[in-house]
């Protein structure tokens, strides 16, 4: 084969690795029932392709070929280990190794369902929440341990240990590779969507400039959610995808080039990504028209009202207050009450907003939540009560650890007249 042709085949294998290796991996896990074995088989399969394809050409169905090669190599390895370990008389091992290769022509199917199974395994509630996130990014999205460690500002050895521990538990406690039955789906899907949203927020909430991989994290979360939606078209999956797309549409306008916060009111709406907004709004409509939407869909609906308003003044605040009421009925939370209070201020005036926030603070639920004091300070500032505003800003600043948010509040204080 001419050198150019060999180079073309190699490039094709590279592309296949980038695009499909995680799907092949997921299928290998189903067939081999073990993460480490599947990881090894994946590497062996691509090695075999590098050896054979330049001479034999690329097979008709490369994905299945790779799965088949990986499985064969792994089973072969287990047979050899078995001989070493003198386990011939253990019927369970022998049996699991013999039912293979009966039909060498029947290529295993590469199922997208396998990736979904893997998502549910990685997000199993029996695994610690931190580990669910790390494991999903590692095993489903294919990020390296170093990439995940950098994104979550965690030392790589700590993260690696977390992943190893989770994989051991999956193996030893026999957490199955399966999408839960319909009657258990709702609860299990919650934990999957929570992981997806955590990954997204980790990439979205952090200030710009510090860790370049963070926008990638949001992208991974959106990709993952699209995959889940394709296989599991539930209203809340739709709602979460919508919510992430609508947030993502504003990414570029939330910070100045130097990383300072720009509030929603002051963002340049002409730079919001219209394509993402249109897709998000469409998904929200579909989610809300079903009978069993949940909190993600309602949050997405709120985001859609903002995204489709030409300015803060023209926003339908009445609708937003109504959506917050709905959200509070589904998931009562003081933080949501605070957000509702801000919407009330925009609808009925800052006096009304101040009364809402004061009521929440008096109930003691948010007294150490910096944004509650920041909202109070903002209302007082707009009402011209600068002395009181100064006190609330001081409390908010005291409670804020994040650099850009702190600097934003300090700028506000500097603008106050005494």
């Amino acid at each position: 084969m001419p050198a150019a042709e060999i180079a073309r085949v190699r490039a094709e294998i590279d592309k296949l690795y980038r695009k499909d290796s995680r799907r092949i991996f997921a299928t290998l896990i189903r067939l081999l029932g073990d993460f480490d074995r599947a990881e090894e088989a994946l590497a062996d399969a691509f090695r075999a392709a590098m050896e054979k394809w330049p001479a034999e050409g690329i097979p008709q169905n490369p994905g299945s070929w790779l799965v088949s090669a990986g499985r064969f190599k792994s089973i072969d390895k287990q047979r050899r280990e078995k001989r070493f370990d003198h386990l011939e008389d253990r019927p369970d091992v022998a049996e699991s190794l013999t039912d293979d290769s009966a039909a060498p022509d029947a290529l295993p199917e590469l199922l997208e369902d396998d990736r979904l199974r893997l998502v549910f395994t990685c997000c199993h509630p029996a695994i610690a929440p931190d580990a669910q996130v790390a494991l999903t990014l590692r095993e489903v999205c294919g990020l390296t341990t170093e990439e995940i460690a950098a994104a979550f500002l965690t030392p790589a050895p700590t993260l690696a240990q977390r992943i190893v521990r989770a994989k051991n538990k999956i193996r030893d406690a026999n957490i199955p590779f399966e999408v839960p039955a319909r009657e258990q789906l709702a609860g299990r899907l919650d934990s999957v969507l929570r992981v997806v949203y955590l990954v997204f927020n980790e990439g979205y909430m952090a200030s710009s400039g510090e860790a370049p991989t963070r926008a990638d994290l949001s992208g991974e979360a959106i990709r993952l959610c699209r995959l889940i939606l394709e296989l599991l078209p539930e209203p809340e999956v739709r709602g979460l995808l919508a919510l992430m797309l609508l947030h993502e549409s504003r990414r570029e306008t939330r910070h100045t080039a130097s990383g300072e916060v720009i509030l929603l009111d002051d963002q340049d709406r002409s730079r919001w990504n219209r394509a993402l907004i249109a897709e998000g709004a469409e998904l929200v409509r579909a989610a809300l028209s079903s009978q069993n939407f949940g909190p993600y869909s309602v949050q997405a609906a709120i985001a859609a009202v903002h995204a489709e308003s030409p300015s803060s003044g023209e926003t339908d605040w009445n609708e937003i207050v109504g959506l917050y009421d709905l959200l509070l009925r589904i998931t009562p939370s003081p933080v949501i009450e605070l957000n509702r209070g801000v919407a009330v201020a925009m609808r009925d005036g800052f006096d009304a907003g101040l009364a809402e926030v004061d009521r929440l603070l008096a109930a003691g639920k948010l007294s150490s939540y910096s944004l509650a004091h920041a909202a109070r300070a903002d209302f007082l500032r707009r009402l011209g009560r600068h002395g009181e505003a100064r006190q609330s800003y001081a409390r908010a600043i005291e409670l804020t650890a994040q650099g850009p948010a702190r600097r934003f509040l300090e700028r506000r204080v500097a603008e106050l007249t005494t």
């Binding site: 003198h86 386990l87 008389d89 253990r90 199993h124 029996a126 030893d172 406690a173 026999n174 957490i175 199955p176 399966e178 839960p180 258990q184």
Partner: protein, 112 residues
């Protein structure tokens, strides 16, 4: 696969579940071939701890758990996987008052 379901209860709810409820659930599991063994335990103030140090047997009273949850019994079950084990554990009657720790069992690692 075998899992050990360890039932933990605090002293104030130790007797919250009737023995007949626990026995009935045990029967349900046994009839399905999923109960391999199990028993309730006496309170922790009946416990004795045995240790061997430097070849000497030491015996002490306790340990006692005065306010915390303590082991009050166990079910050894046979389940397809952790999901089924969780399902079975969630129906153990005292799960409503204390907690059930589900642990996969393992084989002794000895040469055949």
């Amino acid at each position: 696969m075998k899992y050990l379901c360890l039932v933990y209860l605090a002293p104030d709810v130790w007797d919250a579940c009737s023995d007949s409820d626990c026995a009935a659930y045990g029967d349900t599991l046994r009839n399905r071939g999923q109960l391999l063994g199990g028993t309730p335990l006496h309170r922790t103030d009946t416990a004795t701890t045995v240790r061997v140090r430097n070849g000497e047997v030491s015996v002490t009273d306790g340990p006692f758990a005065e306010t915390k949850e303590a082991l009050s019994g166990f079910y050894l079950i046979d389940a397809r996987d952790l999901n089924e084990a969780i399902q079975i554990a969630s129906k153990i009657p005292p799960a409503r008052y204390g907690s059930i720790e589900v642990r996969p069992t393992r084989e002794l690692a000895i040469a055949p």
